[in-house]
Every structure is written in C-alpha cells, then in structure tokens.
C-alpha cells in the first residue's frame, strides 16, 4: 500500500483512488450506455412513427404505395442502431461501445433529419445528442460524434451542396460554418466534462481517503478487539486461578483446627478470621469483625501482658509467639498459643500481620501434670536428702546427749560432747539456711551494692581457694549500676560457682568472672523466666568439661549432684538459683559438653528506681553489758523447750521474762503487768497471728518493741507496714545472737 499525504487532507492510498476513479468512470459509462440503449430504441421507434405520420405513402395520381421513408426508417434505422445496441448489450461500459454509440447517434440524427424533411428544428437533435453524449464524461466520444458530422457535411457540401445549403453552388467555407457550431458546443461540453472528471477524481480521492481511514479504524478496532479478547481470557484465567486459590485457602483455613487470621499492620482492623474462631473462642466471626477488640477482651487479665508483647513485636515487623488464656462465654478457660508473622509488600513495607492461633489447653494440662510429677519427684528427693543429713546429725546429737546424761562420763567428755553437739547443730543450721535459700525464704540483708566491689573484694580469697593450674580472670564493667542484694549471699554464690568450675576443670584451665549491665527485652529473655528489664550480670565461665544435655535440666534441683558421695549435699546451685530469684533476678547456664560452661547471675538494676531501705545490719557483741537489764520482756513461744532455753538465757542477762504459751496467755499476762518493754514472739502461734497480738499490745502500749523469731520469712512486708519497732531474729539462733537482737530491739527507740 502506497500511502501518500495530500496537503490539507487526511492520508489516503493514491493507487486506490485511481482504481476507484476507474470504477466510477466505468459506472458512468455503464449507466450512459444503458441510457443510450433505450434512447436508440426510442429513437428508432420514433423515426418509424414519424415516417408513417409525415410521409406514409408515395402517390402517383390516384394510386399510392408505401413511402420509401417508412422503409428507410425501419431498415436503415435498424441498421443504424444495431451495432450500438449490440455492443451496449454485449460490452457495456467499454470504450468501443460508447464510440459506436456516438457514431450511431449522429447517424440517427441524419436519418431523423431526412425523415423530417430536413427541417432546421430537427437539426437540434445533433446538438442535443452531443450534450447527451457528454454524459459519458469522455471528450473522445464527442470527437467521434463531431467527426461523423464533419465528414457528412464535407462530403455532402462537395457532392450535394443543395441538400445542405439549398443552393447549387455554395462557397467552401459553408461546410465549416456548420462544423464550427458543432465545435462551439463541443468546447463547452469539453469544459463541462473536464469539471465532471475532476469532481469524479476528487470523489475517488475522498472515497480512497475514507476507505483508508476506515481501514485504519477497522484495523485499530480489530487490534483492540484482539487485545480485549486476550485481556478477557487472561482475566478469566486469573479469576479461575483466584477461585482455585480461594478454594484451597478456605479448605486449608477451615479444615485445620485452629484460627487463621489476617490483620492490618496496626492490628486494629481484622481482615480475615477463619471459622475455627467460633469453635475456640465461642464467639461468632461476625462479632469479631465488627469489634476486633472483643478478641482481646476474652484474654484473662494477667495474661494480657503476654499477649501485648506479641502485639508490640508485630508492630515492629517481627514474628512472635505467645501463650495466654481466654475465657469462653460458657466460662471455660482455654490456653491459646498464638503465632504472628509480618507480611511485607514488594517495597518491604509492613502490609499485613498474619497469624495462627491454636487451642493448647490439652497440652498445657499435660505439661502441668508433668510439672507436678517433677515437683513431687523433687520434693521426694529433697525429703530424702534432708532425712539423710538430719539423721546423721541427730545420731551425733543423740549420741553425745546420751554421753552428757551418763553420770559416769567425765566432765571433759561432757564438754567434748557439748562441743560436738554444737558443731552438729551448726551444720544443721547451715543445711536449713541452704534449703531456705533454695525455697527463696531466706532472711536476706539487702543493701545497695556495687557488684564490682563484691567481685573485686572476693578475688584474693578466690585465688587462695582455687587450686594451682586454674587461672582466674576478673573483668568488671566500669560505671556499673548498683543492685539491691545481700553481699554475703552474692559471695556465697560466687564461691559456689567457682568451686563447681574448679571441679569441672580436670587439670588446668581458666575461670573468668565478669560483670556487665544489660537490658533484657520482651521475648528475648535468657532462659525461660527472666522478666524483661534492666539487669546487672555476673558471668562465671570456665574451660572445663561442660555439662551434658541429660544433666542440664536437673542442674538447679536440690540434692542433685554429679560429685562423688561426701563432696557436698548438692544444694549449691539450687541455693544460687533460689537467692537470685528471691532478689528478683535469675541464673542461667550455657554449656556444651567439652566446651566449658557459663553461668550468668541476673540481678535487677536499681539505678533510677529509688532504692529500698537499707537492710538491717545485725551486729554481734558477745560481751556487751546488758544495759537494758531489768526491762520487762514478754516471751511467747509455743515450743516449751525453746521457751525455757530462751527464758533462761534472757534471765541470765538480767531481764525480767514473763513466759506465755499462746496468744490468750500472752494477753492475760500483759494485762496483769504495768508495762512491757519488749515482746519476743514466735512467728507461728496457733489460733492467731503474731501481727494481731502485736497490734493489740501496741494499741495499749505504743512504745512496745517487738522481736519476732522466725525460721522463714513470711508476710514480712505486711508486718513491717503494720507495726513499728519490729526486729526479726532468724532461727536457728545462738544465745549470743538472741541477746544481741534484744539489745538492738530495746535500743531502737
């Protein structure tokens, strides 16, 4: 396709315009041929009619015969129209047809002029025919017709001038006069034909341009249709894939027991929740869509913090895993394990949070049972250990007591037995201290401590303690925050860990102690139970044999030991664990068999949090004069042996001691006395509590001092808040310690 640009018009196909022009020309020729065909027939008939009407017969006197004009009209007219009519029928639209038509039409003019007697009016037939021939829009046709006229006039002008001009001898130019008039008309007709042809060509060009435009439009429509068809097919395929994907997703989400959910990045809008929600939560999915917060409202209050940790991590775009309990509408409590995962878009922005929650109530129940079973096993092992150690001690005590009671025993033997009994009792006391430490009920002398001082202060002693071949390295962090702790217990813990490390190092090795401060974040706590917060840590690591995976879970159990019999009861690590927990911290261990072990003690940092009051410092002064002698002391002790011993010790120091067995007895004695300076009471009193008694007595005597003897700390904070002038003495205690505490209590005005 040869497209061309015509200035001021739209693009079109020039070759096509020529084809269209040729087609238009042929159409014109066809139509004109058809018109002339009918004209020829009509003229033929008109000639016959005219001949019959004008000159039907030729006469001779009274006789007549058919006029030759009628014969000529029929025969000659037939000859004249024969070729044009035949060509118009056989070859319509062809050039030869229209030239034959032109010649035939001029001959027909001649015939009709003859038939009409050469009337001048009939000559207009020639001019009319020329105009009619111009319908062909082909100037050559006019040339043919004019040529026929010219030849007729020239021939007749030469041979029969009178037949044309009515004179016998006409001048030569008369022929050209008639031809000139024909050419005169031809001139106008040529102009008209030229205009018509140009218009026709213009139409052809417009038609070609229109077709070109239509073709372009159709091509564009076809292309667009093809594109649309492809798009529709693609869209259908996508929809089909989406349906399949949706179906698969629904099968997954609705079949697996649990709750699949999708939330907005801020977790405010719930975008999807699977039907499992109704089964586990007991609420309809519609309700949680309408009020997404209703899901969180089902969580038990104390577990909401754990659930919120998950929300915080999700908002940061981190995966999380948390467990909490919910209360169903029927009152059932269910344990839920919830895992959330961030879903990012293509630019890495958090787009969704997706998650899966399952009902783990059965698992939790099983775990509790296992824990209970483990606890029972621990208690059994603890009871066995205590029984063994105490039986040994009691055997010693009973044996030596028998020796003292034996009258035959010498004084020296009795003294030695007393010393032995005192030593055994001291061992028993240490044993109970360790047990209390494990049970986190030990009396602690808590103070604001710089752990660096504790560690550095202990370093020389540890160097002396450790055997040769073990190198001690101490690294402390400068500007270490202070902690609230009992320095003695921390030292005990460090000694215990150091001795354990020494035992784990076969010959030579390195023991490293270092301090540091760190922040434990939610979800990243070391071990299972270190709460998030600011901590100061002491890390004790060795290059010893390490701890096996079998031993690791039981490491902090009391009376669990891997050492040979007789090298300790197995309470060291349990004591460390108990003390750390009591101080709000934790002990964790990392180890690999053959790669040493690292114990880390976590103690809460107190910087910026307001320190607790300094712990009471017990000072023992064995030869202190009893400056408060003769003061009234009301002694309330359930145990008669201990009551007698305590009363005897205090009376020996000059105090006036009034003994009472229980609360009612104590109240009775108190009411009979003028005043009581000090109440020494056992913590455990049947029927009432020491707090109630102390309150009653202090109500009437606000200056009353109180000394509570206790084997373990119970409700310490409650009592401290309710009473004033309170001093506590931990069992077991020596007479000297008792006196020291009494002096301290009485002096605490």
């Amino acid at each position: 396709v040869s497209a061309a640009i015509v200035p001021g018009t739209i693009p079109f196909d020039r070759a096509r315009s020529h084809v269209i022009f040729a087609k238009l020309q042929r159409g014109v020729a066809l139509r004109t041929d058809r018109s002339f065909l009918w004209l020829m027939v009509v003229q033929y008939l008109a000639g016959i009619i005219a001949a019959i009407w004008i000159s039907p017969r030729a006469w001779e006197g009274m006789s007549s015969h058919l006029h030759p004009h009628v014969i000529a009209a029929i025969i000659l007219g037939g000859i004249v129209i024969s070729l044009p009519v035949a060509l118009a029928g056989l070859y319509p639209g062809e050039r030869s047809t229209r030239h034959a038509m032109a010649a035939g039409q001029m001959l027909m003019s001649g015939l009709l002029i003859h038939l009409c007697g050469g009337r001048i009016e009939t000559h207009f037939h020639i001019f009319g025919s020329l105009a009619f021939l111009s319908f062909y829009r082909d100037w050559r046709v006019l040339v043919t017709a004019s040529a026929v006229v010219a030849i007729d006039h020239l021939v007749r002008g030469v041979f029969f001038p009178e037949s044309i001009y009515g004179v016998l001898a006409a001048p030569w130019w008369r022929s050209f006069e008639h031809i000139g008039w024909v050419l005169f008309e031809d001139g106008f007709l040529f102009i008209s034909i030229g205009q018509s042809v140009r218009e026709m060509f213009s139409i052809a060009e417009r038609q070609a341009a229109l077709e070109f435009s239509h073709a372009g439009v159709e091509r564009t429509v076809a292309e667009r249709t093809s594109e649309l068809t492809a798009e529709i097919a693609e869209r259908r395929q996508t929809e089909h894939s989406l349906r399949l994907s949706e179906q698969r997703f629904r099968q997954l989400a609705e079949t697996i027991p649990g709750v699949f959910w999708i939330k907005s990045p801020d977790l405010r809008d719930l975008l999807y929740v699977s039907p499992g929600y109704e089964q586990i939560w007991g609420h309809s999915c519609e309700s949680v869509y309408e009020e997404p917060e209703s899901c969180g409202e089902c969580i038990i209050a104390e577990d909401r913090a754990a659930a919120e940790i998950g929300a915080v991590k999700a908002a940061r775009g981190e995966p999380y895993e948390t467990e909490y309990r919910i209360i169903r509408p029927d009152g059932n409590v269910r344990w839920i394990s919830s895992r959330g995962f961030p879903a990012f878009d293509e630019v890495g922005k958090l787009a969704r949070v997706v998650g899966f929650a399952t009902d783990v109530t059965e698992r939790k129940s099983l775990e509790l049972k296992l824990l209970e079973a483990g606890r029972l096993e621990t208690v059994g092992r603890l009871a066995g250990g205590i029984a063994h150690d105490f039986n040994t001690i009691l055997t010693e005590v009973i044996g030596h007591a028998e020796l003292i009671k034996d009258a035959a025993s010498s004084a020296a033997t009795k003294y030695q037995s007393g010393v032995a009994i005192e030593r055994s009792a001291t061992r028993a006391a240490r044993l109970t201290q360790q047990l209390l430490a494990f049970s986190r009920k030990q009396m602690l002398c808590v103070e604001n401590l710089d752990l660096n001082e504790v560690v550095l202060g202990l370093e020389p002693m540890l160097r002396g303690l450790l055997r040769k071949g073990i190198a001690l390295r101490t690294t402390v962090q400068t500007r270490l925050p202070r902690v609230q702790a009992d320095a003695t217990q921390i030292q005990h813990m460090l000694v215990q860990l150091a001795l354990n490390a020494q035992d784990a190092i076969p010959r030579e090795g390195t023991l490293t102690i270092q301090t540091a401060s760190m922040t434990v974040e939610a979800g990243l706590a070391p071990g299972d139970d270190t709460l998030p917060g600011e901590y100061v840590t002491i890390t004790v690591s060795d290059t010893g044999a390490g701890i096996s995976e079998e031993v690791m879970p039981r490491l902090f159990e009391p009376f669990f030991t891997t050492k040979p019999h007789g090298q300790g009861p197995g309470l060291g690590l349990s004591m460390c664990y108990g003390v750390a927990k009591q101080l709000g911290g934790n002990v964790t261990v990392r180890s690999k068999l053959g790669a040493g072990a690292t114990f880390t003690i976590y103690l809460p940092s107190r910087d910026g949090k307001g320190s607790i009051p300094p712990a009471e410092v017990v000072k023992w002064a064995p030869n202190q004069p009893d400056k408060y002698a003769t003061r009234n002391i009301l002694l309330v002790e359930t145990n008669p042996t201990l009551r007698d011993l305590t009363a005897t010790v205090l009376r020996k120091r000059g105090y006036v001691v009034h003994e009472a067995t229980d609360e009612s007895d104590a109240l009775k004695i108190a009411s009979s006395l003028y005043s009581i300076d000090l109440l020494v009471a056992d913590e455990v009193m049947p029927g009432t509590t020491r707090a109630d008694l102390a309150k009653q007595l202090q109500a009437s005597n606000p200056d009353l001092r109180i000394l509570v003897t206790s084997d373990k700390l119970r409700d310490f904070e409650t009592v401290s808040a309710a009473l004033s002038g309170l001093t506590i003495l931990q069992k077991p205690y020596t007479p000297a310690l008792l006196c020291s505490k009494v002096l301290a209590a009485l002096g605490n005005h």
Binding site: G61, M62, H114
Partner: protein, 192 residues
C-alpha cells in the same frame, strides 16, 4: 482478435449505414418529370393572368409537396403582394369530392392572398404541362419567367435554388428565364 472483429463489424455497419443514408439522399434528390411549361399564358385557363402570376400545381396527398407549400409561403411573404399566387390541387374526376381537402389544402388556404382551387381531372395542369406535384410557374404579363420546383429535394424544407430565383424575378433583380428540377409525386399515374 476481438478488437479486429469489432473493427470489421463496425466498418461493415458504417458502410451499410452510409449506403442507406446515400440511398435516402439519392431518393430525395431524384426529381420528377420536367414539365415544359408554355412560354405564353395558355388559352382556356380558368385562371385569369395578372402582372406577376404564380401557380403551384400540387397533389393533395403528396408528402413531398408539404415542403413546396411551405416554400411558397416564404416566397409570398418576401414578395409582399407583388404576385398573384394560385395553388391548384389535382381533383381526379373519379375521386370523392373531399379527396382534395387534405392538410395540404388547408395549409395552402392558410397562406394570405393565395387562391386555392381544385383542378378537376388535372385539366389545368395539363394546360401548363405540369406532371409533378410541386411544379411552379411564374408569368409576368402572360410571359413565362420561371418553371420548376421551389424545394431542394423531395419534401426538403429550407432554402432552394427555385425559391431564390422566383424571389429574384419578383424583385426585378433578374430578368432571365430559368428552370429548376421539381421534387414530388407524379400528378398522374403512369399508365401502361
């Protein structure tokens, strides 16, 4: 091949057409028997001679004579009363009385100043030796000035040599005696 055949057919067709037209022309230019009109006004004529007297002899049914009547009308229009004109129609004795009352009769009557009369059995025509319809004679004071046809062919309208001569004689432009061929139907049957 087709164009050659077409050319041959077209040539034949043109030849036949031209031959036909030539035959027609030949028929048109074939004059009737020349009537030798008497040089002096014949005696016994029913028509009274005047200064210039013009007589047209006509067959009432001859289609060629229509052109002669028309040419007479044009001559008289130019002569403007300088001539006494007569149109004499053949009236066969055996024919019906209205045989002459044709459109030609009525056309002749329509020309102002023309005397139209029937020539019973062709007596008048014979006096003037007229044998062909359209024969025209012009006498000036009884002397023959012109005899012949006033059309250029059979039934041919328009200018003719006879018409031009007649007008020239009537206007005095010419004094010469002249004759022209007569185109029309024979006034009498050619009896064997």
């Amino acid at each position: 091949v087709r164009s050659h055949k077409l050319l041959g057919v077209a040539s034949l067709w043109l030849l036949l057409s031209c031959a036909g037209l030539a035959a027609m022309l030949h028929y048109e230019k074939t004059s009737g028997a020349p009537g030798d009109a008497p040089r002096e006004w014949p005696a016994g004529s029913a028509i009274e001679p005047a200064g210039h007297t013009l007589i047209l002899f006509a067959h009432p049914h001859c289609p060629c004579t229509r052109a002669s009547i028309a040419a007479l009308g044009q001559i008289l229009a130019h002569a403007q009363g300088q001539v006494a004109a007569h149109v004499v129609f053949l009236q066969p004795a055996s024919g019906p009385r209205d045989w002459v009352e044709t459109d030609l009769w009525r056309s002749a009557q329509a020309i102002p100043g023309v005397d139209v009369r029937a020539d019973l059995d062709g007596d008048e025509a014979r006096r003037f030796h007229a044998s062909t319809s359209g024969q025209t004679v012009l006498y000036a004071h009884g002397h023959l000035m012109f005899a012949g046809g006033i059309t250029s062919g059979r039934g041919h309208f328009g200018d003719s040599a006879g018409g031009d001569i007649t007008l020239a004689l009537l206007s005095g432009a010419s004094k010469a005696h002249a004759r022209t061929p007569v185109y029309g139907c024979p006034l009498e049957s050619k009896e064997p």
